[in-house]
């Protein structure tokens, strides 16, 4: 009985310590003054270097970055964290300001929301997890802190940033797939992704990114291999922005909006067995692939 009483008392004591510590923190620590609500709307802050984040936000961003991001990206953002040596897809070197997952034109900086989206969804089939469960204010604070690693974000010549225009969506259909297949061959997609889209083209084994890391073309037939989402819109976005820092180009200047939709429909169909809008099963369209 004595021991049970002791244990319960100890548990209550530990809880009391926790509550006491919590109260102390909320009264005096920077985190207690961090106003999440004041920084949840990215609209006014993206694309604009003239509205730097407050020191409060940067401090919070740094704290959360060191807790959540530094094991891979390194405390200095160089992408050389303690885990990096063991990862096949290397963590981004944040000091270069070069990002793949964007909604902006080729070569340009990402918007704040692009960075926020990557943190939120993660990058599928890589070691970058989804931090959807992190408080939104903390994710925004990390976005602001990440931007301090690269001078590009404070260089006025990098602005304004052009967010891509998605045009008028073309729904998947046999005709769209046929056109997409023709474009797939015409645009030399086969050299990296292979004739069947399996990521086994003749150049596949030779690719490196701007950071001199070896990279591999996406296996377009494998739904798990789409890092940035596998919907038609996700694929269209990549055709429009390109993947900065990799050999994957943007087709925004070489293909019309409509043709990029056709190509996106075709690539989407390679990893999809759903039905199309007209009831046609994707499997029955093998002749178009």
């Amino acid at each position: 009985m004595y021991i049970q009483t002791l244990t319960v008392a100890a548990a209550i004591g530990l809880s009391g310590l926790a509550i006491s510590a919590h109260n102390t923190l909320t009264k005096g620590s920077p985190s207690s003054n961090f106003d999440v609500a004041s920084y949840t709307d990215p609209g006014a802050k993206i694309l604009s270097p003239e509205q730097p984040a407050s020191q409060l936000i940067l401090d919070r961003g740094r704290k959360m970055f060191l807790v959540s991001c530094a094991p891979c990206h390194g405390a200095d953002g160089s992408g050389n964290g303690p885990i990096a040596a063991n990862l096949r897809s290397k963590p981004r070197d944040l000091t270069r300001g070069i990002y793949m997952n964007r909604s902006t034109a080729s070569g340009q900086l990402p918007t704040d929301y692009d960075l926020y989206r990557t943190i939120t969804t993660g990058l599928h089939n890589t070691a970058m997890p989804s931090f959807r469960q992190m408080a939104p204010g903390d994710r925004w604070a990390i976005v602001q802190y990440i931007k301090t690693f690269s001078p590009r974000f404070t260089d006025s010549t990098e602005y304004p940033i052009d967010v891509i225009n998605v045009g008028t969506e073309v729904l998947p259909s046999p005709q769209s797939l046929a056109r997409g297949r023709a474009l797939y061959l015409q645009m030399q997609c086969t050299s990296c992704h292979g004739i069947r889209g399996q990521g086994d083209g003749p150049a596949a084994g030779t690719l490196t990114d701007d950071f001199r890391n070896q990279i591999w073309p996406t296996d377009l037939t494998n739904p798990s291999d789409f890092k940035f989402g596998r919907s038609v819109l996700d694929i269209f976005r990549i055709f429009s922005t390109g993947l900065n820092g990799t050999p994957m180009p943007s087709f925004a200047e070489t293909l019309s909006d409509t043709d990029r939709w056709h190509l996106a429909n075709y690539v989407w169909s390679l990893q999809n067995t759903d039905q199309f809008q007209d009831g046609t099963a994707a499997d029955s369209l093998a002749a178009f692939r």
Binding site: M1, A21, H22, S29, M128
Partner: protein, 418 residues
């Protein structure tokens, strides 16, 4: 040869035999990521995985507030490691003949589930399924605990609580070590072969019932992990009257050129009731006495700061049991291990090795063990594992060697999970 390989592959995939296997694919599904976010290679935890574990099995920097949002539709994960094994046992004194065996030594498939129950509350359970030919299959509740996470509400998870059956956050938990065998100092039990029953069986290789405060304080260099609490001991059935202990661990991480250097220590101290089951004559209550146990361990781990592909680790442990039998004899154990994990090809191929030693002063028992092996990432959810272990045990009485036994085993298997 090809037929043999195919047959072997089919057999192992039927799940005939496992040893420990504790990566949890349910987390990878939940967070849309791969094993390598948390594991150097399963089950070995990397820096992110250690933080994930110290945050109550939630991503570092997060507090999960909703029971349903973003949970995988199927919360159960399964891992198994069927293995084909060859073993040999040799008596170096020549008293008994050498024995050999080739076997699948059993089935153990482990189920895991863990999820948020709402703001601050989450749970974790591990349920190994044991099968031995001719015996009843059992599902055990090995680990089951309820957690209150991020008690400071600052988003860093620096203070969490848990109650239930859990493993101490000692610097090298045996179930997340890459080497195949449990560390000798973790599995040492002074009462083995004594014809006594004890209120608990102290083992750092098994979960314990209790309550603890744990977490990782991020502001101290690259994080101070800790775990401190009360326990009724291993397999105690919550007998807090006859079995009680306190424990604590600290493990400080520092990055040198972004390579982790870890220094830590842990302590366990408690008492337990011991009953002599060999002395029940005449209807008299058997003799009982109290044994006080203590364990103190220190550890050092470092990655090479250049390639970060060599992970060297070591631990030294001292233990004392003051009353092992009715004569009041106490046992003193000393021992530990040194090991290395090497990344040959990232996310693909790994090798490891560990040397263990254990000495019991009063009985002159000495045990040495070398454990080497490899792991190859074959498929997204499957790893081929190869292990080789050699163990030597000696005992001396009055200057005469009474035991000198050498055991070797080699095995190959596949670790897979879903």
């Amino acid at each position: 040869m090809r037929r043999i390989f195919v047959a072997f592959f089919l057999v192992v995939n039927l799940g005939i035999l496992t040893t420990q296997a504790n990566a949890v694919p349910v987390f990878a599904r939940k967070y849309n990521t791969t094993c390598f976010t948390c594991h150097t290679t399963p089950p070995l935890l990397n820096d992110f995985g250690l933080r994930f574990q110290a945050n109550g099995y939630q991503l570092p920097g997060t507090l999960e507030r909703y029971a349903q949002a973003d949970q995988p539709s199927f919360l159960m994960g399964m891992v198994a490691q069927p293995m084909f094994q060859y073993s040999e046992s040799k008596d170096n004194l020549g008293a008994t003949p050498t024995t050999t065996s080739t076997s699948f030594s059993g089935i153990e498939v482990a189920l895991f589930t863990s999820a948020s129950l709402g703001s601050h509350f989450s749970f974790y359970t591990g349920l190994p399924i044991d099968y031995f030919s001719g015996q009843q299959t059992t599902i055990n509740v090995e680990t089951a605990n309820l957690m209150y996470t991020d008690a400071l509400n600052d988003g860093t998870g620096s203070l969490n609580f848990r109650i239930g059956e859990f493993r101490f956050l000692i610097p090298y938990q045996h179930q997340v070590l890459l080497a195949n065998q449990d560390p000798l100092v973790y599995t040492y039990r002074p009462f083995d072969g004594k014809n006594v029953t004890t209120a608990n069986t102290l083992s750092f290789a098994d979960p314990n019932f209790g309550v603890s405060a744990f977490g990782m304080i991020p502001g101290i260099a690259e994080g101070l992990r800790y775990d401190i609490g009360f326990t009724g001991g291993t397999s105690s059935d919550i007998d807090l009257k006859n079995s009680k202990a306190i424990f604590g661990s600290l493990n400080q991480t520092i990055y040198l050129n972004n390579a982790p250097l870890r220094i830590g220590a842990f302590f366990y101290g408690g008492s337990q009731l011991v009953t002599n089951t060999n002395d029940t004559a005449g209807g008299v209550a058997p003799p009982q006495w109290t044994n006080n146990s203590s364990r103190i361990g220190i550890n050092l781990e470092c990655y090479d700061p250049w390639t970060k592909r060599f992970d060297f680790y070591s631990q030294y442990l001292m233990g004392k049991d003051d009353n092992v039998d009715t004569a009041g004899v106490g046992y003193t154990e000393t021992g530990g291990f040194v090991g290395v994990n090497v990344i040959i090809f990232p996310e693909k191929f790994y090798i490891y090795g560990r040397y263990d030693i254990l000495n019991v002063k009063e009985t002159n028992d000495n045990k040495n063990q070398i454990d080497v092996g490899f792991q190859y990432h074959l498929l997204p959810n499957a790893f081929i594992t190869g292990v080789y272990t050699i163990t030597n045990e000696t005992a001396t009485t009055a200057g005469v060697k009474t035991t000198d036994q050498t055991s070797t085993s080699a095995g190959i298997g596949i670790r897979f999970g879903f």
